[in-house]
């Protein structure tokens, strides 16, 4: 038994505790120590994640580097970890993004003593410890092969996330901004907690049904295996109810229209780094879990509900993009764009084709990278001008060309320009959907057009034209900020032209997932044949 996966989970967790225990950051030097420790921990996590990815053999078994530690025997729970292709790339994404988020938010948690406010001296370590705690819990969620362990960390990560949203944000806004922020944090928590509690009922239901048939365990491979070879049979009504219980939690987290309304609030009020953490990392657990748990545990119900879910995701694609076009607030625009993108991811998953699901998995990674670049540069811009309103900007490219250039790259990646990574995944998702559901695939294509609209309009309004008052003295990107953006841009370009390393890892896992739902790709024959094939399935 190797301990590599446990180490990947334990290092950020221990780092969170260590960071929180450091002496209060009341001087600049102490704050630098705190930040350096946190950054070093996240770098170590990245190294471990890279080691996981390096030792992952694409041709090997579904779950690799597996380990299992006894935890709560009374309920058949063990702390089991295992990396499959999908989980591995997402762990890698998380590990890449967290240090960058830390660097981007380097000064977000410095104490500022202004008139009438009172801030804790331990604010700095709170911020960095919470980021590490989120990272640890997300990594466990991606690696857990025990349904209960997954549930516990899926739910527990809400708490540090909640404090990150509510406790740290734009401090210039005064009491009104603080109210908005705490509203956003509470909304985030209540939505997700409700989802989680509904899932808890389903988790318990699954356990009770399995225990009735002599399988008192939460071990995912055991359960999916038993479901596949008929040892565990779940009554169709119960299966549908359980599927909906799981799916509801994941759809809130992902978020799928119409459960998305917490995301614009949360991403709008949080710091740019936290917003990246939400949309690029935490929300991915939702889509990831749809693939791993909904499809693996409830294959028949997944097929039953797939058309309905596709329609919802299609609405999400179009609705998110339309609302993004109309946004006046840069961060909320990014949030609605993300809702549109999550529609694509969920569509790819439930199209039940290998292109669709490979595309969805790549989409998770690429959306993470592209949105991180986009949002972080937007955050740099907002911190310079002190406003989130698009109307307050104009002509920035004349005063800060590098900032404008990286922002343009972020915009282009978001609209899936060919040559950038998101293009590959979006294309795969659309192809995968089209082969089974041509009408839905065609309508979804309009999402791309709308994406071009909101992304280019945003660039045009903020960066081109005459220099707006208040923007004249906006400085260009600093070295630290460049250091944040450069890897993201590089990865987006690299994966745009050469996605093979990722697809190699992802493909076997996708094939395994599809075989669990007894789905194979429709024959790429005549379009009419594909249509009827899709309807029969």
């Amino acid at each position: 038994m190797s301990y590599l996966l446990a180490a990947t989970c334990a290092v950020p967790a221990a780092g969170a505790v260590l960071t929180a225990a450091l002496p209060a950051g009341d001087t600049g030097a102490r704050r630098r120590t705190i930040k350096a420790v946190a950054l070093a921990v996240s770098a170590a996590t990245l190294a471990l994640a890279a080691a996981v990815a390096a030792s992952f053999e694409p041709g090997g078994p579904r779950y690799q580097l597996t380990e299992s530690h006894s935890w709560i025997r009374s309920f058949g729970i063990s702390f089991s970890l295992g990396a499959d292709g999908i989980g591995t790339v997402l762990v890698l994404l998380t590990a890449v993004l967290v240090p960058l988020v830390m660097l981007a938010g380097w000064h977000d948690a410095d104490p500022v003593q202004t008139e009438g406010t009172f801030e804790s001296k331990r604010r700095t370590q709170g911020f960095f410890a919470l980021i590490l705690a989120v990272e640890a819990m997300v990594v466990v969620s991606f690696l857990a092969t025990d349904v209960f362990v997954f549930y516990v960390f899926f739910e527990a990560m809400l708490i540090p996330m909640y404090f990150l949203i509510g406790g740290f944000g734009d401090r210039a806004g005064g009491p009104e901004a603080a109210r908005q922020r705490s509203y956003a944090a509470v909304k985030f928590l209540l939505y997700n907690l409700l989802g989680g509690l509904v899932m808890l009922a389903a988790v318990i239901g699954l356990y009770v049904i399995a225990a009735d048939q002599g399988l008192a365990t939460f071990d995912l491979p055991t359960l999916t295996g038993a479901i596949a070879d008929g040892k565990l049979s779940i009554d169709p009504t119960a299966e549908k109810a359980l599927f909906l219980g799981f799916f509801f939690a994941f759809a809130v987290k992902a978020p799928l229209w119409p459960l998305h309304t917490w995301l614009p609030n949360a991403m709008g009020e949080a710091t740019a780094g936290t917003a990246v953490l939400i949309t690029a990392v935490v929300d991915k657990v939702g889509t990831f879990a749809m693939l791993r748990f909904c499809l693996g545990l409830f294959p028949d119900a997944s097929k039953t509900f797939a058309p309905a879910i596709l329609v919802l995701s299609l609405i999400g694609i179009v609705y998110g993009a339309l609302v993004a076009v109309a946004q006046k607030d840069i961060k909320r625009l990014v949030a609605y764009a993300s809702i549109s993108h999550f529609g694509f991811i969920i569509m790819g998953i439930f199209a039940m084709t290998s292109q669709g699901q490979t595309g969805a998995t790549l989409y998770m990674v690429n959306h993470g990278l592209a949105t991180a670049a986009w949002m972080l540069v937007a955050g740099f811009l907002i911190s310079r001008r002190g406003s989130r309103l698009i109307a307050d900007y104009g002509g920035v490219q004349k005063v800060a060309p590098i900032l404008a250039g990286t922002f343009l790259l972020g915009n282009l990646a978001t609209l899936s320009l060919p040559g950038m990574a998101p293009f590959v995944s979006e294309f795969l998702v659309l192809v995968g959907t089209f082969t089974r559901y041509p009408v839905i695939g065609i309508i979804a294509t309009f999402g791309i057009v709308l994406a071009a609209l909101y992304a280019l309009l945003l660039y045009q309004r903020t960066m081109t034209g005459p220099v707006k008052a208040g923007v004249e003295n906006v400085p260009d990107l600093k070295a630290r900020e460049l250091l944040v953006v450069a890897p993201l841009v590089a990865l987006t370009l690299l994966l745009g032209v050469y996605p093979k390393p990722l697809t190699d890892i992802v493909n076997p896992a996708v094939d395994a997932t599809l075989s669990q739902v007894h789905q194979s790709d429709p024959a790429p024959a005549h379009p009419v044949a594909a249509t009827t094939g899709g309807e029969q399935k």
């Binding site: 006894s70 935890w71 709560i72 025997r73 009374s74 309920f75 009438g116 406010t117 009172f118 801030e119 804790s120 331990r122 709170g126 549930y151 516990v152 960390f153 739910e155 527990a156 809400l158 708490i159 909640y162 404090f163 509510g166 406790g167 009491p175 603080a178 922020r181 705490s182 944090a185 509470v186 928590l189 209540l190 907690l193 409700l194 509690l197 509904v198 808890l200 009922a201 318990i204 239901g205 356990y207 009770v208 225990a211 009735d212």
Partner: protein, 542 residues
């Protein structure tokens, strides 16, 4: 029933009942310590009483806990479980488990009672949360004099010990009369303790009167129910009642008449249930809870909320598992209704509360509903889940109320929520601890509250009570809202001018809170040992 026959027959000699002193020792030690406390009160000079009382109480409680551990280690909870004192008391797994929980919470409660650093010193005297002289009229000359002299009400310690003694007996009582006696022994000292707050004495006395009147009413219900059941089954012993109901007992002419009358049985059972559900604070018998929790001195509230609930659920479990196992379909729909109402009403009414003690009171009502959900499973799994839940809940509750004692302004404890605003910025550690307790109440994973909630819901689902589980998770979501409201207030709101500040406690309260935190995290992260313990303990002796 040889002794009944002997007493009623012509035999001149009454055989002395056989008492197993060793197995009753936890209760005997606590009652003994309580009597010593009364003597201390009578004979020691006033200035020495306080220290002596704390010492006697802690010694008694720790000694009794050691006795429980020894009894459990000897197997009295499992293989050697049995009926004692001529069938009046049962010492078995659930009894020992709950006695252990009650004793541990009582130890922590005594620590918070003895806290003397929170109130500002008066005329050079250390004072605590209790009225200087319970008998003095609030605001009267006598009270002013007692305050001037720096009196402390050290009677609270023997009173608490008597209450603990009753609580130990309550879940172990194997006949209805013993159960009634235990109920009274635990209740009467609590009524007094509720009236002894140093500040806001009128509120405190009002709470005590309310508690006493409603409690007396509930006791009367219980007693009347006992009488009706005796009329039905010809016995007050729980196993014998079960035998008569299930038809195992030989039919005597008297029984043949009474057992035809199911009304006796059903009304009697309903009345017993009213008495016990009142004590656990289940809806619709909950209305005393917020007032009493708010008015009582906070250390007493913490003790009451944790230990009384544990003891009362113990008695309720024994009643429904031992005496009425065959009657499930008769009482099940009613208990379903009570559980659903308790969860929903507790969670919804808590949302609008503005006082932290009232908020915790409503939260305790909602938790009573969750525990009832597990109880309704009526199997071994349900029993062990409830035992574990009570363990987890007791420590969270005690810790939370201990934190409440620390948050103060010039008028004493600042229980109004508005004065808690911004506490997280002034005292991040304390606010974090309280947030942990609130998250445990809300059942967030990695805390004891989640493990407990998972256990009871899982038992309920396995017992076929899926609708209860669904109501349970939905009311948990509502409940989460008001716990989170407090967290928002502490961490994300700006401190108000004149808001509360945090008093620095002595090691006594600090220990109580620290133990609460450790148990909350321990039962959340590594619950296996305690789940095993609860499973091993979950067999009632008959």
């Amino acid at each position: 029933m040889s002794w009944l026959a002997a007493a009623g027959g012509n035999s001149p000699s009454i055989p002395a009942p056989h008492i197993e002193y060793g197995q009753l020792s936890p209760m005997l030690v606590v009652f003994g310590a309580a009597l010593v406390g009364v003597l201390v009160e009578a004979f020691l000079p006033r200035r020495r009483r306080f220290t002596a009382q704390v010492g006697v109480s802690l010694l008694g409680l720790v000694g009794a806990f050691a006795a429980v551990v020894v009894l459990a280690a000897q197997g009295h909870g499992t293989t050697k479980a049995g009926l004692l004192a001529m069938g009046a008391v049962a010492i078995d797994g659930p009894a020992l488990f709950l006695q252990g929980v009650i004793l541990l919470t009582a130890v922590l409660a005594v620590l918070t009672y003895a806290e003397g650093r929170l109130e500002p010193r008066l005329n050079g005297h250390t004072v605590d949360a209790f009225a200087p002289q319970g008998a003095a009229v609030p605001g009267g000359e006598q009270e002013r004099e007692a305050t001037r002299e720096g009196f402390r009400t050290s009677e609270v310690f023997p009173l608490t010990l008597f209450a603990v003694g009753g609580m130990l007996l309550f879940p172990a009582a194997n006949d209805l009369l013993t159960m009634f006696v235990a109920l009274e022994v635990l209740s009467l000292p609590l009524y007094l303790l509720c009236a002894l707050a140093r500040r806001r004495r009128l509120l405190s006395q009002e709470a005590a009167v309310k508690y006493f009147l409603l409690g007396a009413f509930a006791s009367a219900f219980f007693l009347f129910g006992t009488a009706l059941l005796y009329g039905y089954a010809g016995s007050v012993s729980l196993p014998e009642i079960a035998d008569v109901i299930s038809g195992v007992a030989p039919v005597t002419p008297a029984l043949a008449v009474t057992t035809q009358n199911d009304a006796l049985l059903l009304i009697g059972l309903a009345m017993l249930a009213v008495g016990l559900l009142f004590k656990v604070g289940a809806v619709p018998f909950h209305s005393w809870t917020p007032d009493v929790y708010q008015g009582a001195p906070t250390p007493v509230t913490g003790f009451m909320a944790a230990a009384t609930k544990t003891a009362a659920f113990g008695a309720l479990l024994r009643l429904f598992y031992v005496a009425f196992p065959g009657l499930r379909w008769d009482w099940r729909p009613v208990m379903w209704g009570v559980a659903i109402l308790t969860m929903v009403v507790g969670a919804i009414l808590a949302v609008t509360q503005q006082d932290v003690k009232r908020l915790l009171a409503y939260s305790s009502i909602a938790h009573a509903g969750f525990i009832l959900t597990g109880m309704i499973a009526t199997d071994k799994q349900g029993l062990s889940a409830v035992l574990f839940y009570l363990l987890a809940y007791s420590f969270v509750t005690l810790g939370a109320f201990a934190v409440v004692t620390l948050v103060r302004d010039s008028k004493g404890e600042a229980t109004h929520l508005s004065s808690w605003a911004g506490l997280g910025r002034r005292s991040p550690l304390l606010a974090a601890v309280f947030a942990l307790f609130l998250l445990a109440f809300a059942g967030i994973p990695l805390t004891s509250g989640f493990t407990g909630k998972f256990a009871v819901f899982q038992a309920a689902a396995a017992g076929g009570a899926t609708p209860l589980v669904i109501v349970g998770v939905l009311s948990s979501a509502v409940a989460a809202f008001f716990y989170i409201r407090v967290i928002v207030l502490m961490f994300f709101s700006d401190p108000q001018p004149g808001g509360a500040s945090v008093a620095v406690p002595s090691p006594l309260t600090a220990t109580a809170i620290a133990v609460g935190v450790l148990v909350t995290l321990g039962l959340g992260l590594l619950p296996q040992y305690f789940l095993d313990l609860a499973t091993k303990a979950s067999v009632f002796v008959r």
